[in-house]
Amino acid sequence: MFVYILKRIVATIPVMVIVAVFVFLLLRLTPGDPAAILAGDSASPDQLERIRDRLGLNDPLIVQFMRWMGQLMRGDLGTSLISNTSVSGMLIDRLGPTINIALMTIVISVALAVPMGVIAAWRHRTWVDFLVMSFSVLGFSVPVFVIGYILIQIFAIELRWVPVQGYRAPSDGIGPFFSRAILPSLTLATIYIALIARMTRASMLEVLGEDYIRTARAKGVRENVVLFRHALRNAAVPILTIIGTGFALLISGVVVTESVFNIPGIGRLTVDAILARDYPVIQAMILLTAGIYVFVNLLVDVSYSFFDPRIRY
């Protein structure tokens, strides 16, 4: 098991290097000159040239790449072309809100979606099942910002239960954090609840037809035990997969939510960086997202064996 995890970690290195190469090239090859943006519309060609030189944009691609990789190795993600501050510092500042909201989203999604899916499968083809499936279709089809505004309208403006926008770190008190994080999390969670509930239902439906479920019932086991002890663990692998993939996708999903709720997370940072062609920040963001994706996948793969003893590495 330990050897397996070690092997998997080693195996992520080439993945990350390929991502790095891809990221580097993609941005250098797209049109748009950061020097021009930095200098403003009235800059002379001379000024532009000086800025390019200072930023190293005139060196051959391979030199720029090697320099960048060298910095990466040292954990230095470079300096923002726009704000002139360290990218790693910017990321750390902005990561907190995003991670907190993402985690809260996942907790809400799993806590609601898994029981929903289980009950829908158990009461297959009844109104309960129909209700869950309808919600699921709705959750898929309504855009994130629409849900966000509807929730704000109801809970912040009409009922005045929570503030409209903004963010407080949990270190400033759990109450203020929670009241501001709950709506964005619920907004984000809608689509994941839809996704996870659907997958749970499908996976459970399959498992509930298995012989060992009949055996459990033949033993006189209560239905809740049949569902959660006997069936759910067997249905876990596809559900875990979808939760893992969902979490990774979440990081990109926060962009819209953070704009709607005015949260200073990495979603907003990314949008700003792309609009300003702030290369170092964009590169760091893509690397970070790829890193999170790889890490979450590793976590999911390892967790399979926790639920299913037949999976051994």
Binding site: H124, R125, E210, D211, Y212, R214, T215, A216, R217, A218, K219, G220, V221, R222, V225, R229, H230, R233, N234, F307, D308, P309, R310
Partner: protein, 561 residues
């Protein structure tokens, strides 16, 4: 042969079923699945329910358990009384309380019947947790004690094992321990040994009998295997299309069956008397296998491992028009040999010469044109035909691949339908529109469409009812007569091997332990393993088809069988 002949008229009645009618849920006027079943089982009695697939045996047992699939089937009339408690009127929680305490069930496939993600000990213990107030420690002690009673070795270790870490026989012992731990009055066993090897089957049948004797349990035993019935039954009920057509004590039923259907069922049971080998043609061999080895796994990336030697030094030849059977238990390597010959897997060493060409070491691309010389029929016709293809498409695909014009391939397909006794319009239909036996005929037609020199049948009749099995065996015989094809017949069933094989090769753990004419091997086995296999075959002394003991029918058999 000895039959049970105990009298149960004085014993307490455990189960009483009257005029039970089960039909499709929500459709009271559709044809019922069970129609007027009457059944009585008394304490200590073993009542066998026999019949072909679809006759309603399993539905009967599920109705008694209250486990009919909710949205598919429902009880539409009649009564089921267990020790005087009316089951059809019981609430869900009353029914749960009866299960495991009064009535328990074991199933056909112990691998799928046990939860793969829970330790087997916990699964047994769960019964105690649900139905008793025992403390954790007491429950565990009682579980281990029960595991001991069903003769599981090293119970502390097995308690912690997961189902996939146990053998088929051990899994079924776990199931039995689980079913009997609360000493129920009625045990329902639904084909509990069908998925097991004959030697394991014998052990499990003995175990059930032993537990029954100890606890005085009534047993409702569902099976399609007349051999098993002959060994264990006190009373037999024969089911056909949702009705019980005949009920009698075992001896009466086997010696003097009243109903035509019962006679038909019994006549279809092949006996262990081997066929007389057909004259060996002097022509060259269709297939020659020399020193065939197959090792699975073997070289690991990080560490060298031994690998599993699934077949070691297998040698045989088959001449045109003759059949060689490979028999053995699961894991003996018989299917591995078949797959190596078909080059579905690549043998690690040895030569396979089919129709004059060495194919064992040939590159896959070069092998392609030779594949038409050897064709295979698999065990499960439900899965070996593409469900989204018409029969015609399945039948024509091979010949068209090998350059036959479409019209000609279609014409051949139509002829083949006649050969396998299916209507011509069957060509336009899909596999799910046929019964199991019909599907296997289609699978055979598909193989024969290639005009092969060698036909490999891998457990080709094992999934079929006996009467259908007999028909398919006849069909294979007929095809062999007509086309002179050589056949390699893989089976675990010695009766089937006795019916169809000229020669038999017995495998055990990858090794060939005995090889010779069927009459010789099955009548005078030399190897202990072969002898064990033959002795484990249930009802081997009985000639079912002629309603009498086999000894009188075939005196030559008496000495050995």
């Amino acid at each position: 042969m000895e039959f049970k002949s105990r009298d149960f008229s004085q014993a307490a009645r455990v189960l009483k079923i009257r005029k039970l009618k089960v039909g499709l849920a929500g459709r009271p006027h559709a044809a019922p699945v069970l129609d007027g079943i009457d059944l009585d089982i008394r304490a200590g009695e073993t009542h066998c329910l026999v019949g072909e697939s679809g006759s309603g045996k399993s539905v009967t047992s599920l109705a008694v358990m209250g486990l009919l699939p909710k949205d598919a089937l429902e009880v539409q009339g009649g009564l089921i009384a267990l020790e005087g408690v009316e089951i059809t009127a019981a609430s869900a929680s009353q029914m749960r309380a009866l299960r495991a305490r009064k009535i328990a069930m074991i199933f056909q496939e112990p691998m799928t019947a046990l939860n793969p993600v829970l330790r087997v000990g916990e699964q047994i213990e769960e019964v105690l947790n649900m139905h008793t107030d025992l403390s954790q420690a007491e429950a565990k002690k009682r579980t281990l004690d029960m595991m001991d009673q069903v003769h599981l070795p090293d119970v502390e270790r097995i308690y912690k094992a997961f189902p996939h870490q146990l053998s088929g026989g051990q899994r079924q012992r776990i199931m039995i321990a689980m079913a009997l731990i609360l000493d129920p009055d009625l045990l329902i066993a639904d084909e509990p040994t069908t998925a097991l090897d004959v030697t394991t089957q014998l052990q499990i049948l003995k175990l059930i009998a032993e537990m029954q004797e100890r606890q005085g349990t009534a047993v409702l035993f569902i099976t399609h295997d007349m051999g098993v019935v002959a060994e264990i039954a006190d009373t037999v009920s024969v089911m056909q299309q949702g009705r019980i057509v005949e009920r009698a004590p075992i001896r009466d039923l086997l010696t003097d069956p009243k109903e035509d259907y019962t006679k038909k069922l019994l006549r279809a049971v092949p006996n262990l008397a081997p066929r007389v080998a057909r004259a060996a043609a002097t022509k060259r061999d269709v297939i020659a296998v020399q020193g065939l080895d197959m090792t699975y796994g073997g070289s690991g990336f990080f560490r060298k491992s031994e690998g599993v030697k699934a077949a070691r030094d297998v040698n045989f030849t088959i001449k045109p028009g003759r059949t060689l059977g490979i028999v053995g238990e699961s894991g003996s390597g018989k299917s591995t040999v078949a797959r190596c010959i078909m080059r579905l897997i690549d043998p690690t060493a040895g030569k396979v010469t089919v129709a004059g060409t060495e194919i064992a070491q040939m590159a896959r691309r070069q092998l392609q044109p030779h594949r038409k010389h050897f064709q295979i029929v698999f065990q499960d016709p439900y899965r070996s035909l593409n469900p989204r293809w018409t029969v015609a498409r399945s039948l024509c695909e091979g010949p068209i691949n090998f350059g036959t014009p479409r019209d000609e391939a279609m014409a051949t397909a139509a002829e083949l339908m006649e050969l396998v006794d299916l209507p011509r319009d069957a060509l336009d239909r899909y596999p799910h529109q046929f019964s199991g036996g019909q599907r296997q005929r289609i699978a055979i037609a598909r193989a024969v469409a290639m005009k092969p020199d060698l036909l490999v049948a891998d457990e080709a009749v094992s999934a079929l009812d006996v009467s259908v099995q007999a028909q398919v065996l006849d069909l294979l015989d007929d095809i062999q007569d007509r086309f002179g094809v050589a056949m390699l017949f893989i089976t675990h069933d010695l009766r089937v091997a006795a019916q169809i094989c000229d020669e038999v090769l017995v495998m055990q753990k990858g090794l060939v332990v005995e090889h010779g004419p069927a009459a010789e091997v099955l009548s005078h086995p030399r190897h202990d393993y072969t002898r064990n296999l033959i002795e484990a075959a249930p009802g081997r002394h009985w000639d079912f088809a002629n309603f009498r003991a086999l000894d009188t029918a075939h005196p030559r058999q008496g000495a050995t069988a």
